[in-house]
Assembly symmetry: C2
């Protein structure tokens, strides 16, 4: 496959593919003239990268997880750690989703005054306010 086909089938622009290759996130198997040639499995790798991004991981973190070389990482501890990180994110997002869903139908004057909304918010942000800061929620993105 040439870069245009990968772009078409993955939805990832060619410029981004070149950028990812430069970063070591993906690699082409060779060149035909000066054109890059990719294997079909590049598509799975791209899906994995997109997934990692949706999970809020930086490209560098993703590289760590999927391995800069060919195939996913061997560092089982890192993978487990990232899974746990992701799990706590998921809990927060679930609470937020429920908060949003409720807010969409709740008739309280201000959502902040609705006990249900506040409970969900508290659940999501548990531990964030007062002692410890919101850091837990945001440091992943900040770093």
């Amino acid at each position: 496959m040439d870069i245009a086909e990968v772009a078409k089938r993955s939805g990832v622009p060619a410029s981004t593919l070149r950028f990812y290759e430069e970063k070591g996130l993906i690699k082409s198997v060779g060149r035909l003239g000066l054109r890059r040639v990719f294997e079909v499995n590049i598509l799975e790798r791209l899906a994995l990268i997109a997934l990692g991004q949706a999970a809020g991981f930086s490209l560098d973190e993703i590289a760590q997880m999927v391995g800069v070389n060919g195939n996913p990482n061997i560092d089982r501890e890192l993978l487990a750690k990232k899974a746990d990180e992701l799990d706590s994110t998921i809990q927060k997002l679930i609470a937020m989703r429920d908060g949003l869903r409720h807010a969409a139908v709740c008739s309280a004057p201000s959502h902040m005054e609705c006990p249900k909304f506040r409970r969900l918010l508290g659940l999501a942000a548990s531990g964030a306010i007062k002692s410890g800061g919101l850091d837990q929620l945001t440091k992943r993105r900040r770093s």
Copy 2:
């Protein structure tokens, strides 16, 4: 509360608080001299913002949801839409979490060759490859 206390209790740097105020995401109730004064409920609002960010929403989107004015938005349709968006993100993250968890213990030579891993990945990226592109996964962030 002055800005330093808000910063301390929320974990959000003062510079960020000023930045958020400028963007209309938060507001101070007044000034004492030239110093901003915040109400205690600013902490909840900040938790909500942090939550929105963890969910991958941009500050502008968050402003739309929580309302640029004082309290959350009245646009129930928008809230429901965002909740659905969030829900599909959550499904992907769950699949990825499970994929990571499994990868951490799986002994297949390459995770891409492990059927279980591929199934989870496929689940997460369903529809992303081949027809439609990965766009669904990433456009939220790109916008």
